[in-house]
């Protein structure tokens, strides 16, 4: 039915002696919005960062098992190529403060030293900002610094920056936890449009958000993947008692 884009098999991650992600096996279908939820410290963010190998920034990390993008093990690929294919949006909006809005969107090309003709650049910037639902708000101030935008706009700018690289998958690490409710709504609305072209994997500890935006939800608890199912199914009739407890708020 649907093709798998990211799949892991018996995947483990360690920080030093700390076993953070335990034996996770998951197949993530293409062009869906996947929510990853669970209490703090359950390994969901670590798992997310393992997908584009960002956890390697922290010394002392180790992984076991396989994690594939389109059937190819990302741990056999060049991390730089992995990150071309898998974009990421962080908890706090982090536009480059030394660059204008325009330069921020095109940053993935510029910083990698890829030569793109000016007309194509304009094109990429407009397309990405439009997809990120930011074009109408910033089209007259493209050459202002990105840091002058509001928090929600900055986050959508970061989404535009990720989209500009035309990745297959975009990882979101609690993308709205630093935003106010209005900005949160604007980012959440985006997910619905983006999943037509990209696979979205969204870490959140906000259950309502998971229910609102995702097609499928993965529930992590103490480093294990407890349950992975259609969001509707998960929130109405979870199969695991731990999921049941979590969504009814019996433990946090």
């Amino acid at each position: 039915m649907e093709s798998t884009v990211v799949s892991s098999k018996n995947f483990n991650a360690y920080f030093g002696d700390n076993h953070v992600v335990k034996n996770v096996t998951i197949d993530i279908p293409r062009n869906n919005a996947i929510a990853v939820m669970g209490p703090s410290g359950c390994g969901k963010t670590t798992f997310l960062r393992c997908i584009n190998r960002m956890h390697e920034l922290i010394p002392g990390t180790k992984t076991e098992g396989t994690l594939c993008l389109d059937g190819e093990d990302v741990y056999n690929m060049n991390p730089i190529y992995v990150r071309y294919k898998i974009g990421m949006v962080f908890q706090r909006p982090n536009p480059f403060p030394n660059m204008s809005i325009y330069e921020n969107v095109i940053a993935g090309y510029k910083l990698n030293g890829l030569k793109v003709p000016k007309a194509d650049q304009d094109n990429i910037v407009e397309k990405s900002l439009t997809k990120a639902a930011l074009w109408n708000e910033v089209k007259d101030s493209l050459h202002k610094k990105g840091t002058f935008l509001s928090g929600g706009q900055q986050q959508r700018l970061c989404i535009a920056r990720a989209i500009a690289m035309e990745p297959e998958v975009i990882l979101f690490d609690e993308p709205t936890s630093a935003l106010d409710p209005i900005s949160t709504a604007s980012v959440e609305n985006l997910f619905n449009e983006l999943k037509a072209n990209y696979t979205l994997i969204i870490v959140t500890h906000n259950m309502q958000q998971a229910a609102r935006v995702s097609d499928k939800t993965a529930f992590f608890y103490l480093g294990e993947l407890v349950e992975f199912d259609n969001t509707k199914q998960m929130f109405t009739a979870p199969s695991d008692p731990r999921t049941q407890n979590y969504i009814t708020g019996r433990f946090s």
Binding site: L57, I80, V82, N98, A107, G108, N112, R161
Partner: protein, 281 residues
């Protein structure tokens, strides 16, 4: 109760008055020094003074062109040596602060900063001047570069440590290789801090005399060669102020004024530049 409150209020007022007076007092020596040097030096300075070499004893006129050119050459060469090394070492220290190498490098930087400048001069004399067989501009530059290094390294390190890690993550997540992340994102974002460190280190070394005494040595002639002895402003001041001739004293005052002016301009530009190029995080 009210009486006690009254006493406490009075104490606060006295304290405020004292810190105000002390803050005011410390500006007085600076102002007096500035005024005195300006008064003694400004009369010497004219176009002739800036474009001619010192006149021999007994002749009037003469200037400090050789020292100006020498100072510029020495400072420029020191910068070329010290700035790239300093920035790269600073990047390493800020990026790997928990490693052993960073610990010992940091320790060396601190010690280097505390080494008396005359000692740096002697070391460079034995390591560079003696093997080359001659005093030279390049040996003076090496001595001053050693003085510059710790300031540039620490300024870079401290500036980069203040940048949020999310900045690096943002760039790395776009698939940007590490060296480009550092050179194209991290350094530009910390540019104003690094630049002010560089400017302050230049302001520091341009007035250094001791390391130049037995490296650049000084010269009464105009020289553009990096392998020959060369004059510099502080060396000229040192040599001419200790001479018995009034004309030479005047020359030293004029040179002092120019040096002071240069350091002042450097400090003010630093302030302006850091404000202008400060990246809003």
């Amino acid at each position: 109760m009210n009486a006690r409150l009254g006493i406490r209020n009075t104490k606060s007022i006295i304290f405020k008055v004292i810190i105000f007076i002390l803050a005011f007092l410390i500006t007085i020596p600076l102002i007096v020094i500035l005024l005195y040097i300006v008064k003694q030096g400004i009369g010497q300075v004219n176009w002739h003074f800036l474009t001619h070499v010192p006149a021999p004893v007994g002749e009037t006129g003469g200037g400090i062109s050789n020292a100006l050119v020498g100072s510029i050459i020495i400072v420029a060469m020191s910068s070329v040596i010290a700035i790239p090394i300093g920035i790269l070492a600073g990047i390493y220290l800020s990026e790997n602060s928990s490693t052993k190498l960073a610990y010992y490098t940091g320790l060396c930087v601190d010690i280097l900063q505390g080494v008396p400048s005359i000692v740096v001069g002697i070391v460079v004399y034995f390591w560079v001047v003696k093997p080359l067989g001659t005093f030279s501009a390049i040996s003076g530059s090496i001595a001053l570069a050693i003085m510059m290094l710790p300031i540039v390294i620490r300024a870079t390190e401290e500036t980069l440590k203040l940048l949020p890690p999310s900045l690096k993550e943002a760039a790395l997540a776009l698939g940007v290789p590490y060296h480009r992340v550092m050179l194209k994102v991290i350094i530009p974002c910390g540019f104003s801090g690094i630049l002010s460190g560089i400017m302050l280190s230049i302001a520091r070394i341009v007035g250094e005399t001791a390391p130049l005494l037995f490296t650049a040595f000084g010269s009464p002639f105009l020289s553009y060669s990096i392998t020959k002895p060369i004059q510099s402003l502080p060396l000229l001041i040192f040599n001419y102020a200790t001479s018995p001739y009034d004309e030479w004293h005047n020359l030293a005052w004029g040179a002092s004024f120019i040096l002071l002016l240069f350091v002042l301009i450097l400090n003010i530009t630093t302030k302006l530049i850091t404000r202008r190029w400060k990246v809003q995080l």
